[in-house]
Structures are given as C-alpha cells and as structure tokens.
Amino acid sequence: MNLEQALYKYVLRLGDDSLILGQRLAELCGHGPILEEDIALTNISLDLIGQATLFLEYAGALGGENKTNDDLAFLRLEKEYVNVLLVEQPNGHFGDTIMRQFLFDAFRKPLLEKLQNSSDEKLASIAEKALKETKYHLKHSSEWVIRLGDGTEESHAKIQESLNTLYRYTHELFYTDEVDLMLNKNNIIPNLESIKSQWENTIKEVLEMANLSLPDNNWKFEGGRQGRHSEHMGYLLADLQYMQRTYPNMEW
C-alpha cells in the first residue's frame, strides 16, 4: 500500500461516516418532534450529505479508477462501505437520534480540528469547511442531551437507555490500522489517541451536566471500518441505492 492508496482508504472512511449518518437523518425529514427541530435535523443531514459529497469526490480522485462521488456513494457493495457501525444504527426515538449524533459529533469535532492542519492540502480544506458545521452540530446535540437528561423522569430514563445501547459502538470510532499509522507518520492525519482524550472529556462534561452515567458493562462492537456491518445496513443501502440499481447508467 502506498501513501495515496492509504489516503484513499482514509478519505473513504470520512466520506462514508458523513454519508450514512446524513442518510439516516434524512429519513426523519417531515417527522421531527416539532417543526423547529425538524428543520434543525434536516440542516445537519444536509451538512453531512455536503461533506460526503466533498470527501467522496476527493476519494474518487485518489482511487485512480475515475470514479465520481456518486459512483462511490451509490454503487458499492455493502462490504465496501467503511463507515463506523454507530452511524448506521436506526433513528429509534428522538433520544436515540440525539445520543447517536452527540457521540459522533464529540469525535468528529476534535478530529476535524486536527485535520484542518493536515499536510495534505485538499483534505485540510475540506476539514476546515466541515469543522464549522460540526461545531454547530455538537452544540446542538450536547444541548439536547443535557435537556433530555435533566428534563423529566421519563426523558432521563429514555436518554440514559439510548446511551446504554449506543455506547458500545463508540470504541470503533478510534479504530486504527496500518492506514492510520502510515498517514499519521506522514503528518496527514493526527494520532487518534490524542483525539480520544478530547472525546472523553467532552463526553464526561456533557453527561455530568445531563445527570447521565456511562454504562459499566459495554461490549465493544466493531466491524464497520472493515466492511462488516450490522443487519441494518442492507436496508439503508436498499433505499440509498434504489434508483442507481434499478436504472443503471442514467443521468438524473
């Protein structure tokens, strides 16, 4: 694996995380708990689809097979998507959606902060743009975690349950393999360990304000980064790819 191949693999991960979470949130458009929140979640979805568009465009350029961002977004096999399992989890109730978002945003923000200083200029510039959006996403999701955690008894119980269920997927956010090691050595991406402590601090701080506690029994799930997904993924892709698979090679 050369450096360009490693970067291709890495940018694909960034793109897929954005794409799949954006797709999940898009399911909610028109069904939010109140109009204001419908609009806010749609905004986040739009930002994520926009990020996916840029990351996957770059991945296409790095991949050397003349693939467009749409080719990559719509025409891969399930095992070729490399998003973390967390982002493909179903929306569940509003607390589940918010907790999934929070756990992801708290990771994405420090990561993008580092990536905007990447020695790879293109990656740095996409990260810089995405960071502006992600700061807002994290603010939005943290505020809701706190509101629900410190709201009513019912909301507290619900969001605690969301945390208990989703926490097991967070371990994978810090998945590291030879791709990361090679890019880190070349100052293209940060060391994930440094991101991890920032992530932990954010989680600790927000959960404290929300009166929530981390589950003690948490099995660490992973597989997404290697293309091994949960049962939910096939259905998500069936929707995502429906048009491209049914009507191949057409322009829309």
């Binding site: 399911e27 028109g30 708990p33 996957l56 749409d70 977004a73 009513t152 909301s155």
Partner: protein, 315 residues
C-alpha cells in the same frame, strides 16, 4: 359596543382596505375578517407541513448526491413556510398547537394535492413543476393581501416557491432528455399530477362560497377560475418544451380568448379527496399525528428543563 360604533369601525376598516392600506395585528377588524384569515392562513400552514410528506418519501431514494441535497433543502423550506404561516396566524390570536390539533382531528383542511401518492422519482419533478407552480399562481397575489403579516410572509415564501418550481422543471427536463424509461416515468407523473394540480385552485367560481367576500376584503385578488386559466396558459407551452403530452384530449388553443380551453375537471374526485377519501389522506394525517405524539415527551422535557434553569437563575 353599540351597533352604531361597529358600523363606523367597519366603514373605516373597509375604507382602509379600499385605499390599499395594510391591516396590522393591533388594528380593529371585523370578526369575520379575522376568522376568515385564521382559517385560510392555518390551512395554508398545514398544507406546507403536510406537503413535506409526499416529497419526504423520496429523500432517502434520491438518485444522486446533488438531487438528495436539493430535495432535502426543498422539504426543509416547506417546514420554514409552515413556521412563518403559523406565526402569521398567531398574530390574529390563533394558537399554533390548537390549529395543529384541528388538522389531526380532521377538522382543519389542507391542500388536497398532498393526498396523492408519490410513486416514482419523476413525481419529484412533477410536484416541483406543477404543484409549486400552481402554488405560485395562488400566492403571488397574496403578497398584496390586505393583512400585513400574511402579505409579508408570502413575499418570502413566493421567492422560495419559484426556486422550487425551477428545480422541478429541471428534473423533468433531465428525464425527458433521458432514456425511454425516464421519458415514460416523466409522462406518467404528468398524467397523475395534471388534474389534481388543476384542482388546487379550488371549485369553480359559481361553487366557491368565500370568493366574493374575500375579494372585497382584498384577501383574494383573483377568482379560482381566473387563476386556473392562467396556470393552464403558462404550463401548456412548458409541457411542449419537455415533449410531454398533457392528459386532456379537450385541450385546445382558443384564439378568441387568447387562452386554452380545457376539459372538465372531475369534481367528484375533488370533493372525495377534500372529504378525507383521497388515496393518502389517512397516511398523511396519521404521519403528522404520530410526529406530534412521539415528540410529546421531548417537548415536556424541554419545558421542564427550561423551568428548572429559570428557577435556578432566580434562586
């Protein structure tokens, strides 16, 4: 208040209307004017919000990244329109949640067009082109409506609607220049949405009970039939550009009136759909009701949290 005083107020009110002076929330207005506006504005707000559902149905299946983003943004705009309009209704003393409950109980109406299913991607084109197109015809005159907050909301809304209309037309253009499957898909969408789009302008003038009063109050500026005619005249040439056929064998240019003659609308179908028996009435209202019920604990939590915080602050 004595009858004589009300008479004077009414005369002053009508004089303002006749002079095109906007009525503002704190101005005196006849009860019927207020009631008519609340009904119309909240129906309009409901239409925006229910209208999110048929198009929301295709966001996860949009054919490429750009179309997905554009459709998301469009449906989000409609939510925004709903918000401004609920706010405009509130300036007249309507309670947002109460009017929403009226929608959920079936008491309040919304545009019948949104009770038709969206079956293919081409429906996203047809809706933008025809439904947003018809909405613009209806709403541009509302920018001059006598009630200030409604008129101002409409200015903002109309700008975005014309953007939606162009995007819809662009989808249709792409399809009609595409493969045979895509052309067929576009024609099929036009076949299904043409007549319901014409119905969006409401019953024929002879059957429309509110038109005369609303025109007097300058809430309405044109009759249903005038607007429908205008829509047909603008849209037929656009269909020609697309190479699509309007599904009406009676459609014919009338040189004398400088407009198109068109076939008879199936008013039975219209009243069936308005009455709750359209193909998706139940699904649409159920979806809105479910969103509110599922969100109830969230709103309660947000309120409890806000109360706790303000108690802490004042402590």
């Amino acid at each position: 208040m004595k009858n004589i005083d009300i008479k004077v107020l009414e005369e002053k009110f009508q004089k303002k209307i006749d002079q095109d002076i906007k009525i503002e929330p704190n101005d005196w207005m006849p009860d019927d004017y207020r009631i008519t506006l609340i009904r119309q504005i909240s129906q309009h707000a409901h239409s925006e919000v229910v209208g999110m559902l048929p198009e929301g149905n295709w966001i996860t299946r949009a054919p490429n990244l750009r179309r997905k983003a554009v459709l998301l943004a469009k449906v989000q705009d409609e939510a925004g329109h709903g918000l401004y309009l609920y706010c405009a209704a509130e300036t007249l003393g309507a309670d947002r949640e109460e009017t929403i409950d009226d929608l959920h109980s079936g008491k309040a109406k919304y545009s019948s067009i949104f009770n038709y299913p969206t079956l293919t991607w081409a429906d996203m084109g047809a809706i933008g082109w025809l439904v947003d197109g018809a909405a613009i015809m209806n709403q541009v005159p509302l920018c001059r409506c006598s009630y200030g907050p409604y008129a101002r909301a409409m200015v903002r809304v109309c700008k975005e609607e014309s953007f939606h209309q162009r995007q819809g037309f662009e989808i249709m253009t792409k399809l009609s220049n595409g493969s045979q499957e895509q052309k067929d898909m576009a024609q099929d969408a036009l076949n299904r949405f043409w007549w319901p789009a014409l119905m969006m302008f409401g019953p024929n003038d002879a059957e429309s009970k509110h038109t005369a009063q609303s025109m007097n109050w300058k809430i309405k500026r044109h009759t249903n039939d005038e607007l429908r005619q205008q829509f047909v005249d603008v849209t037929v040439p656009q269909a020609e550009i697309l190479g699509l056929t309007i599904p009406d064998k009676d459609l014919k240019w009338n040189e004398k009136k400088k407009g198109y003659d068109f076939g008879k609308i199936n008013w039975d179908e219209f009243w069936q759909v308005v009455g709750g028996n359209g193909p998706c009435n139940k699904e649409r209202v159920d979806a809105r009701r479910k969103a509110k019920e599922d969100g109830k604990w969230v709103i309660e939590a947000a309120m409890a949290f806000a109360n706790k915080r303000s108690a802490k602050k004042s402590a």
